[in-house]
């Protein structure tokens, strides 16, 4: 490996280094504050190193990783989201009667896995990234182990993720058998040859890979685990699964899909179209039945992946930009929403029932305001990032005349509006007089993360031009 290669993967090295360093420090001296400080420092350094790496990209680092502007952009998203999750988790963990420090190690390795996914250009790095991510998440899900729901979430995630990884591996093996390579670029060349690879192996292989990916993205019909895991996991972890884990996978999907020009490949497009429609309609309809905020957010995150898929399937010139912008908006919004859940939670239970939010506006207006902004962004109302995201997705769909998908998107997002409104209404319900003293402890760090996220949300909603500029520079086509 050359020096340039090492510089290119500097963010990954820093992430791993921080994880190892933290582990060593914990073995000497346990301190939640030091763990937090070191984690934030490492993440900030990794974030800063993106600019150093940006100098020398695109850079192929062995045949496993392809570090280009695109990968760096997703690194940035993953790291920034992890920083936000760390900020939220600190106050939450403070209240819990468990060992706190290892949480950050797991979070760092999970982020590392997601980043590897975003940069991977080979089945091996794909699988390695996925497993690093998944294994960290098994433990994170069950981190508050005295709670039964957390254990349930952990076990459920473990079993299902392992099964889906098996599917993925089998799919990779089949494709390897068909084309004789595991490297994306080479695979693309072989598939474009006139003779073409052996389709009898290729199609089942692709189907199994799509299954594995769809599981990670929690798309219908591979979504069953999502509400239970989101409900059982600590809210910051749920935010992490919903964003970083899905973001890394989506980055890989985009790269893989367009590299292999699978959008010209009929059956695959049909499969994704069905998955997108099922995700949009199914999740929104199921969410109508929920009265648990975490579960509502879980279904909402399924729906939003479905919306992002619409732009992805449309695959016009806008598609990659639209998906990427959508993911950024989604990251900000979902972390913000789970952030409010986190800040409202206490040592006994998480704030998940709708009752916990009733009349919140009259007790803690700022927090209710943040939650409202996040829910409106999920609905796609102007002045929030979600609006621009939805606008972009519909524009991408319109540019390739995918009218049926757009109509379904519209209908399902109206269904979605219904349950977001229920939560919003709960926030403002109740007589304003009973301004009881607030018992829940205030989390300074978590609250400031929420403030930053809200500012970001509105900034992206009102003036997204700078971010769009960055996205356009980072993404070819």
């Amino acid at each position: 490996m050359t020096t340039a290669g090492l510089i290119a993967i500097l963010p990954l090295l820093l992430l791993s280094g921080t994880a190892v360093g933290l582990m060593l420090i914990i073995s000497i001296h346990r301190s939640h504050r030091i763990a937090l400080g070191l984690t934030l420092l490492g993440l900030a350094a990794a974030f800063g190193s993106l600019w150093i790496s940006a100098e020398i990209v695109p850079q192929r680092v062995t045949s496993l990783l392809m570090i280009d502007q695109y990968a760096l952009f997703y690194f940035g998203m993953v790291i920034a989201a992890t920083i936000a999750v760390v900020g939220l988790a600190y106050g939450y963990l403070e209240q819990q009667a468990v060992e706190k420090e290892e949480f950050y190690i797991l979070l760092l390795t999970a982020a590392l896995g997601a980043a590897v996914l975003a940069a991977s250009s080979h089945f091996v790095s794909f699988f390695l990234g996925l497993e690093v991510l998944s294994i960290s998440l098994y433990a994170l899900n069950a981190y508050i182990y005295p709670r039964k729901t957390a254990l349930e979430a952990g076990i459920k995630y473990l079993v299902l993720a392992a099964a889906s990884a098996a599917f993925l591996l089998f799919g990779m093996a089949l494709i390897y058998a068909a084309v004789g390579t595991m490297e994306f670029g080479h695979m693309a060349e072989l598939m474009m040859e006139s003779a073409g690879p052996n389709r009898t192996l290729l199609l089942p292989g692709l189907a199994m890979i799509i299954t594995g990916i769809a599981f990670k993205l929690a798309l219908v019909p591979f979504h069953m685990w999502t509400p239970d895991v989101y409900q059982g996991a600590p809210p910051p972890v749920a935010a992490f699964i919903a964003t970083v884990s899905k973001g890394g996978m989506f980055a890989l999907l985009l790269r893989y899909f367009y590299r292999l020009e699978l959008h010209n490949y009929g059956p695959v497009v049909v499969v994704f179209t069905i998955i997108a429609i099922a995700s949009m309609l199914g999740s929104n309809l199921l969410a109508l039945l929920q009265s648990n905020v975490k579960r509502i957010l879980a279904y909402s995150s399924i729906a939003h992946m479905g919306y992002a898929l619409v732009a992805f399937i449309a695959s016009g010139e806008l598609a990659v930009q639209a998906v990427t912008f959508y993911l950024v908006a989604y990251f900000v919004t979902i972390i913000g929403a789970f952030g409010v859940v986190t800040v409202l939670s206490n040592s006994e239970e998480d704030a998940e029932s709708l009752e916990a939010y009733r009349g919140l506006f009259w007790r803690r207006p700022a927090l209710a305001g943040v939650m409202t902004a996040m829910l409106l962004s999920l609905t796609g109302i102007p002045v929030t990032a979600g609006f621009i995201g939805k606008f972009y997705v519909v524009a991408a769909g319109a540019s390739s005349s995918a009218w049926a998908l757009i109509i379904i998107l519209v209908v399902s997002s109206v269904i979605g509006a219904f349950y977001y409104l229920r939560v919003i209404f709960a926030l403002y319900a109740g007589a304003p007089e009973d301004r009881g003293a607030e018992a829940a402890p205030r989390m300074a760090l978590g609250s400031s993360v929420l403030v930053v996220l809200t500012v970001l949300l509105i900034w992206l909603g009102v003036y997204p031009a700078p971010l769009l500029h960055v996205i356009r520079a980072a993404l070819p086509g």
Binding site: I381, V394, A398, V410, F425, Y428
Partner: protein, 502 residues
């Protein structure tokens, strides 16, 4: 720049109210009042200075602001005003003052947040009337939804949540259909010219095959028809109007419905004249059905607010009819109806709201003989009910008369149907007066007559209706140049389409 002030004062005023209410509710009310009055005075000043309005010889707009927003995508922060927008903006600020005053004693909980929402919904409506960039238009269109939702959901009456959610979902779905149409238009324009733009004046020349135009137009049409509301998309309206607080009802009936009419006038016909022409038989028949249906249902109500709400369905049916008849007389009538209906229905809601504050019911059965105890309120209610049923000499009459004339030129059948609607309106008007105010005071109400604050609200509204009824020229003079331009654009588009036909 004055256009920025219009919106900026409302937005800033809203925040100031919210902050001020932490210490003192009256201060908050005065700030809200001050903001709306300031805007009203500004808009009047603009009107006076640009009168007589003659757009054809001058520049395209009376005033405009055009800033880059996302230049890459062809999105501009472009506000502009012509005679049509000017009149509607003046109406907006006037009803803004009315609604602040109307909620002076009604709203006691969450005063600051209430006024924040009130002023912001006004800002959103102003944005809708001023935006000439379609992205910005959609932005404002969606934006006015949220504060309105809160106004209904938090400060409404018994079934407020149901009404608010229904309102939100109807407008959200129709709004998204419009978004699809806006983007389709944007893409079609791009493929024809290679330019990405949301600019109204550039999109207006986009040519497309008729069947495409029909689909794209329908997206816009449904969005506006839901707001208007047109039968069969009207079911949200009685609930929302009835359950909202007085200020909410005034804004809904007086302004929010008008954004639908405005959209049809400004966008649907000029952008898609051929499709609109093709669609006009359907739209006009639905309009005529709405006129009669609204009037008949209004007659069947016993809840006063619901009654007034259904009259809106009927009156706005006239506006829809006029827009799809699209001749000079009908359009002039549409504008007068828009303004007169805003005033007369707004006033009726204020009076019914005042009545509810006094006797805590809206049921006509619990009233009767109120004239004995509150003669002035009853007299005012009588006046506005008469205006609403089209008594000559008052604003509504002029509007409906012009629309009937214009319709008659196109189709006698439709004119007859609409005239039957006028007839039916006398039924509900008289029922309203008779059941609530005449007869003997069986429930022995002893009530306080109009307060000074209410007189301040009602008196100017009476004057305006008389003015519109007796001397509507200044209003029409302001509107006609803008109307001619819309007609001209539509005609030019239509001819281009006809030439394209084999």
């Amino acid at each position: 720049m004055i256009l920025i002030w219009f919106i900026g004062i409302l937005l800033a005023g809203g925040i100031a109210c919210w902050i001020a209410a932490r210490w003192s509710a009256p201060v908050c009310r005065w700030i809200a009042l001050g903001a709306t009055i300031a805007d009203f005075v500004l808009s009047l000043a603009l009107w006076v200075r640009s009168y007589p309005v003659n757009l054809l010889q001058q520049q395209e707009w009376l005033r405009q602001v055009n800033w880059n927003w996302f230049p890459d995508a062809g999105i501009h922060f472009h506000l502009a005003i012509d005679g049509l927008s000017l009149l509607l903006v003046v109406l907006t600020f006037f009803l803004g003052i009315v609604s602040v005053l109307a909620s002076w004693t009604e709203i006691r909980e969450g005063v600051g947040f209430f006024h924040l929402n009130l002023l912001w919904v006004l800002a959103g409506i102003t944005g809708v009337f001023l935006a000439v960039d379609l992205f910005l238009f959609y932005f404002a269109w969606e934006l006015m939804l949220i504060p309105m939702y809160f106004l209904i959901a938090i400060w409404g009456h018994e079934r407020r949540v149901y009404a608010a959610v229904k309102f939100f979902l109807f407008t959200q779905l129709s709004g998204l259909l419009m978004l699809i149409s806006i983007l389709a238009l944007y893409m079609i324009h791009h493929s024809a010219t290679g330019v990405y733009t949301f600019e109204y004046s550039e999109l207006i020349g986009t040519s497309m095959p008729l069947h495409t135009a029909i689909w794209v137009m329908l997206g816009f049409f449904i969005a506006f028809a839901v707001k208007l509301p047109m039968v069969p998309f009207h079911t949200w309206l009685p609930d929302a109007h009835t359950e909202a607080s007085t200020a909410g009802s005034v804004i809904l009936a007086g302004l929010l419905l008008k954004t639908g009419a405005y959209g049809l006038l400004r966008f649907v016909v000029p952008l898609f004249p051929a499709a609109a022409h093709w669609f006009s038989p359907i739209a006009t028949v639905l309009a005529a059905i709405g006129i009669i249906y609204g009037a008949v249902l209004a007659f069947g109500q016993t809840d006063l607010k619901r009654l007034v709400a259904y009259t809106s369905v009927s009156h706005l049916g006239f506006v829809l009819l006029a827009i799809f008849v699209w001749n000079k007389l009908a359009l002039e009538g549409a504008l007068i109806t828009i303004i007169a209906h805003g005033i007369s229905t707004g006033a009726l809601f204020v009076l019914v709201g005042g009545l509810q504050e006094r006797i805590h019911t809206r049921e006509m059965d619990r009233m009767g003989g109120l004239w004995h105890t509150i003669p002035r309120l009853s007299g005012a209610a009588m006046f506005f009910a008469m205006a609403s049923i089209g008594l000559p000499g008052l604003g509504d009459f002029v509007g409906e008369f012009l629309i009937l004339l214009g319709t008659y030129k196109v189709s006698v059948g439709l004119a007859v149907a609409a005239a039957i609607g006028v007839l039916a309106s006398t039924l509900y008007g008289l029922k309203f007066i008779q059941r609530a105010f005449h007869g003997s005071n069986v429930h022995h109400w002893e009530l306080h007559d109009l307060f000074a604050r209410e007189v301040v609200i009602i008196a100017p509204m009476i004057v305006i209706l008389l003015w519109l009824g007796l001397f509507p020229r200044p209003v029409l003079n302001t509107f006609v140049p803008a109307m001619q331009k819309l007609q001209e654009q539509a005609a030019r588009q239509y001819q281009a389409y006809e030439r394209g036909q084999p």
